[in-house]
């Protein structure tokens, strides 16, 4: 086309990024790629390999090795050999390596950007301007945590070898999110990149070599799901970190159950994009572009449900459809395109099928008139209107460039619709009224909220989900917990649960008048549904009393009562503190009675029981104190604005208390949970249940709203499992035998609730183990609210 002709059309024309260096590098990989194990490049043990393809053209870029279980084993062993020395290095030494990696990534940034765009199909603009800079930033930020670990995480240490499995949508960024915090804190890693996108992980491995990273600290094994399974199953791995689909996340949750591996999952989403009538509508339209057409919508936190206030819906859709006309699809290496290719034909088919399903269910299709490139794996930007919350496309994660629009009438309805999903990853709120936006943000059940923005990320700001979008945070101080553990755990012994004593037929009279210990549900003492009781025996087998035998219907009722007590979460922290102090006061008033009960049930000396009661009172004070002090943080990401890291309650927590100590174990677990605003369903100690049933009256006289604490006595293992299976329970704590811990982890996969299943003997009387920040962190989840500002 001549200059004169272009002057008529004023088109953009091609603007290709050179792929010369990238192709030369790929060519240098040889016939089949190798694995990076123990600091060296090794051939995979098996002969299997697979093609990696440029989705924009269908061109085969390279053959990638399929790592076998033997390869994974070798990688884990290399990582295990390297780990003690790596963790023992002074933080400053580890910091220097992470700093070097950050610098190396910057020095080779264009090569990374081009290879990633070729293999993934995303536009070079994104890899160059978003992905790679964020990767470098992640290593810089975590170089800092390596430097500060000794001072800031003095009582914590590395987990060991971490198995990390990452997705194809942000290949290098997800690698950075996994590797940087892990190695910063002294862990070593075995990472598997996604099958569709292995190349930049191999390039990163080269950088590890250049940085002189000690052999075995980072190991990269390529392969499909089988390689991932081998990592998940490997007994030498202490922790699995997974980012990917909720479906696979659920399988990993089941597979790791009972293995003792810790687990963080960053899974799918169906994130709401909420536009109020007082928003800057043009800004919000651009927001939609960044929300759902970034990376062709293949983003776990993509704003894929457009919720627009009814009064502006028509105007907003008109603006949005007009904007869609100017989006440019094409060659990922063209510097002037907005959308590249879908990663793989499998994904393209899934998108097509889901959109077809949406249309069958009555949705209206909006796509720009411009033609989609004929060859290659492309799908146009798509808006579906006329979608109802019940539609498939409104519920299922499409993972493509498709946004579905719905309307709301009021802020309350917006929140209700936004939360009407099993997911809870992110949300975007558009309003120029600060008081409205900041009212909505905390009400959204998700880990990230962007106010007048979308898809913003920073290494210093935690990212992660609520509900079935997973658990754990990546980035920021809140992300460090996922790669460290309390030091004392290293020497902790497995918990030893005593068998129930045999009933001797004797009765130990405690009070003159018979008392019936019922269940405690919704603030009332309730008879167990089944109408059975179980004995609480002294160590010698004498009958101390009887408690209700709770069953699954009682669990159902207790969870329902907890659900209704939602107001507790928004009760002022001062108010919650007052109630915890009041509970302490009322327990103190009956200290003698409790000590006698404990003494009778445990056979311990009266003085010992009195100490347990006194400690319990003190612990209630501890959490009364903490109730208004577990502050969040104000992050300062690189923008004019702030990100508020708010500690929010998990929701409805199920707590299976340690069997011993009966009273202190109950107080030590329930008090932090309710102090942080959770509602709890508690299964108390079985052998010392009367200490807790006696507690009903303490609760009743302490102004605690009904439903905040619900207690079901009975078979502790069975009831805990019932709670683990309950989908309205958001988290479960189990302190007891390892076998049940494993079953609980497995059962929790249903709604991917957060599990803290601990099968080690914790010294509940010692403050270092029995109280403090660890409990607060478990009782909360961090929500980051991004607030860019400026006039």
């Amino acid at each position: 086309m001549s200059v004169a002709e272009i002057l008529e059309t004023m088109e953009y024309g091609p603007a290709p990024e050179s792929d010369r260096d990238a192709r030369a590098w790929i060519k240098g990989l040889g016939g089949v790629t190798r694995l990076f194990v123990g600091g060296a490049w090794k051939k995979a043990a098996g002969s299997e390999s697979f093609e990696t393809v440029a989705p924009a053209t269908g061109e085969v870029l390279a053959r990638v090795a399929q790592a076998t279980a033997a390869d994974v084993d070798a990688a884990v062993k290399a990582a295990a050999r390297a780990q003690p020395a790596w963790a023992a290095l002074p933080g400053h030494e580890r910091a220097k390596y992470l700093y070097a990696l950050a610098r190396l990534i910057q020095r080779h940034s264009r090569l990374f950007a081009v290879v990633e765009a070729m293999e993934n199909g995303k536009p070079i603009r994104e890899t160059r301007d978003i992905d790679i800079p964020l990767v470098a930033r992640h290593f810089y930020h975590h170089a800092g945590w390596a430097q500060l670990m000794d001072a800031e995480l003095a009582d914590r240490e590395a987990l060991g070898v971490c198995g990390q499995i990452i997705p194809w949508n942000f290949p290098l960024l997800m690698l950075a999110w996994k590797i940087a915090p892990a190695i910063a804190l002294g862990n070593t890693v075995v990472l598997k990149p996604a099958e569709f996108t292995s190349l930049t992980a191999l390039l990163f491995a080269e950088m590890c070599g250049k940085a002189g990273l000690p052999a075995g600290v980072v190991n990269i094994v390529t392969g499909d799901g089988r390689t991932g399974e081998a990592i998940v199953a490997h007994p030498g791995i202490a922790k699995i970190a997974f980012t990917g689909s909720t479906e696979v996340g659920r399988k990993i949750r089941e597979a790791t159950a009972g293995s003792g591996k810790s687990l963080t999952l960053e899974l799918g989403g169906k994130s709401p994009f909420i536009v109020f009538d007082d928003a800057d509508l043009d800004a919000a339209v651009e927001g939609v572009v960044d929300a759902i057409w970034l990376n062709q919508g293949q983003v776990c936190c993509a704003g894929s449900r457009l919720l627009v206030q009814e009064s502006i819906h028509e105007r907003f859709v008109a603006k949005l459809t007009a904007r869609m006309e100017t989006l440019r699809l094409g060659d990922p290496l063209d510097k002037a395109i907005d959308m590249g290719a879908i990663v793989h034909p499998v994904q393209l088919k899934r998108i097509r099928d889901l959109v077809d399903a949406g249309l069958k269910e009555g949705a209206t299709l909006h796509q720009p008139r411009a033609a989609v490139p004929g060859a290659g794996c492309f799908y146009p930007p798509t808006l579906l209107t006329g979608v109802q919350p019940a539609s498939t496309v409104a519920r299922v994660e499409i993972f493509g460039p498709v946004i579905v629009a719905m309307t709301f009438r009021t802020p309350a309805e917006a929140v209700e619709l936004a939360n009407n999903t099993e997911y809870g990853l992110a949300a975007s709120v558009w309003s120029e009224t600060l008081s409205l936006a900041l009212d909505i943000a905390p009400k959204l059940k998700c880990g990230v909220v962007w106010v007048n923005g979308t898809n913003m990320f920073d290494a210093g700001v935690g990212f992660g989900g609520y509900k079935e979008s997973g658990f754990g945070r990546e980035g920021g101080r809140e992300g460090l917990a996922a790669y460290s553990k309390p030091r004392w755990l290293r020497t902790a012994k497995a918990i030893a649960e005593k068998p129930m004593p045999k009933a001797s037929g004797e009765t130990l009279p405690v009070s003159a008048i018979d008392r019936t210990a019922k269940l405690y549900i919704g603030g009332k003492q309730a008879r167990p549904d089944g109408g059975y009781s179980r004995a609480v025996l002294s160590p010698s087998g004498a009958l101390v009393g009887e408690v209700g035998e709770g069953n699954r219907k009682d669990i159902r009722n207790a969870v329902e009562a907890a659900r209704k007590a939602a107001g507790w979460a928004t009760q002022s922290e001062h108010g919650r503190a007052q109630i915890l102090y009041y509970i302490a006061e009322n327990l103190q008033a009956r200290a003698g009675e409790f000590a006698a009960r404990l003494s009778a049930m445990t056979g311990r000396r009266r003085g010992d029981a009195e100490r347990e009661v006194a400690l319990s009172v003190s612990r209630l004070f501890t959490y009364g104190a903490w109730a208004d002090k577990h502050d969040g943080a104000v992050h300062k990401p690189p923008l004019r604005g702030v990100a508020l890291a708010m500690n929010e309650p998990v929701g409805i927590l199920a707590i299976a208390c340690p069997d011993d100590p009966g009273l202190l174990g109950f107080v030590s677990t329930v008090a932090p949970a309710i102090a942080m605003g959770n509602r709890v369903v508690v299964v108390p100690s079985a052998s010392q249940a009367l200490a807790v049933t006696d507690f009903y009256q303490v609760l009743e006289t302490s102004d605690l709203p009904g439903g905040v604490v619900n207690i079901v006595t009975g078979d502790r293992d069975g009831l805990a499992l019932e709670l683990a299976r309950h989908d309205a329970v958001d988290g479960i704590w189990w302190f007891g035998n390892a076998a049940t811990a494993g079953k609980i982890e497995k059962a929790s996969a249903g709604n991917l609730k957060q599990v803290w299943a601990e099968a080690v003997a914790r010294n509940w009387r010692a403050a270092a183990q029995g109280e403090g920040r660890e409990f607060l962190a478990r009782a909360t989840q961090v929500k980051n609210i991004w607030i860019p500002y400026g006039e």
């Binding site: 200059v3 272009i6 953009y12 651009e286």
Partner: protein, 341 residues
């Protein structure tokens, strides 16, 4: 690239102009609308989002090779070649006019395959005092003369004086009048007064096209910019323009984004078509391409031609010429190789 140009030159229609679509070009059309406060009060502008839009656009859109050359030629055609200095003289203005007639060195124009095209700047922009000289110097060229005629740059002389100045400029042959608004009306929220003032100017302009300078640097916030844009358009402005070039901050991309979105919304509401002119501080070819890309994205190709888009600039042309020379020769250029304005 030169091959492509030559092949075009062979097939180009004969004649002095190849602006083939000129008859279909969208022109400003804005009789104004009765003053209402609603659109002014409905303005919602998010600064961070505006900044993000323009910042990411720089990475999303680029033109290379022949496309870049064509876009730069178009940029030249959209320049209001301007001199607004206290030491202006008739001689200086005549030199500027000569540059406006032939902004691009003939050999470069030919090498771009545009020998047959009449490439000129969009207009010449001067103080009232030099309108007559400019009209004379541009006689027969078709290049309009724009005058800044309302107590430029502060606009604080009496309204009657300003209106008289407009009438005199039009009488001297200016076909475009760049007025400045009373910033006080914006800063105090006196929208009715602003509207009445601009409307009076429009009436004084008669057949001349009126460009209303908001002096956005003085208005400070994007919210003020958007509100003032609305009022200026409701009062009948044919163009809205950012700056006099004399404020602390002149044209910026975020300000542009807000003003051109107002143009879009105003057209949607009234059907009236308003042009846009960023002025001040746009001095490089790269800047010019960024503005053109933003216009194309937000308003479409109709706003990529001088009827609806102008750059108010003095030094921009020199940089564009050098870029085009580089495009043609592959060598970086020297200023003295191009005629000065």
């Amino acid at each position: 690239m030169r091959e492509a140009s030559e092949s075009h030159a062979a097939g180009a229609p004969a004649g002095p102009s190849v602006r083939r679509r000129s008859d279909n070009l969208l022109r400003p059309h804005n009789p104004g609308v009765p003053f209402v406060l609603d659109p002014v009060e409905a303005v919602r502008i998010n600064l961070s989002a505006a900044e993000r839009r323009v910042a990411t656009l720089a990475g999303r859109r680029t033109v290379k090779k022949d496309w870049q050359a064509a876009w730069l030629v178009r940029a030249i055609e959209c320049i209001d070649l301007t001199t607004l200095a206290g030491d202006d003289t008739e001689g200086r203005v005549r030199r500027l006019c000569a540059k406006a007639r032939q902004p691009l060195r003939p050999d470069l124009q030919a090498a771009l395959g545009l020998a047959d095209r009449r490439v000129t700047t969009g207009a010449v922009c001067v103080y009232h005092r030099f309108v007559a000289a400019a009209v004379d110097a541009l006689a027969g060229s078709g290049i309009p003369v724009a005058a800044v005629s309302t107590g430029f740059p502060a606009g604080l002389s009496p309204l009657a004086t300003r209106l008289k100045e407009i009438e005199m400029s039009v009488a001297d042959g200016a076909t475009e009048i760049d007025i400045v608004i009373t910033r006080e009306h914006v800063l105090t929220g006196n929208w009715r007064a602003l509207h009445d003032e601009v409307k009076a100017c429009k009436e004084a302009c008669g057949p001349a096209h009126m460009k209303t300078i908001l002096a956005t640097g003085d208005l400070q916030t994007l919210r003020n910019v958007a509100r003032a844009s609305w009022v200026a358009m409701m009062a009948g402005s044919d163009f809205i323009k950012t700056s006099t070039g004399k404020e602390g901050i002149n044209a910026t991309l975020p300000v542009t984004l807000v003003m051109i979105r107002a143009i879009r919304d105003y057209r949607e509401m009234t059907g009236n078509v308003v042009g846009y002119k960023p002025a001040g501080g746009i001095s490089t070819a790269k800047d010019a391409l960024a503005y053109l890309a933003l216009m194309k994205e937000e308003l479409g190709n109709d706003w990529l031609q001088p009827n609806l888009f102008r750059f108010g600039a003095s030094s921009l042309l020199a940089d564009i010429e050098r870029q085009l020379e580089h495009h043609v020769t592959g060598r970086y250029a020297e200023f003295s190789h191009h005629a000065m304005a």
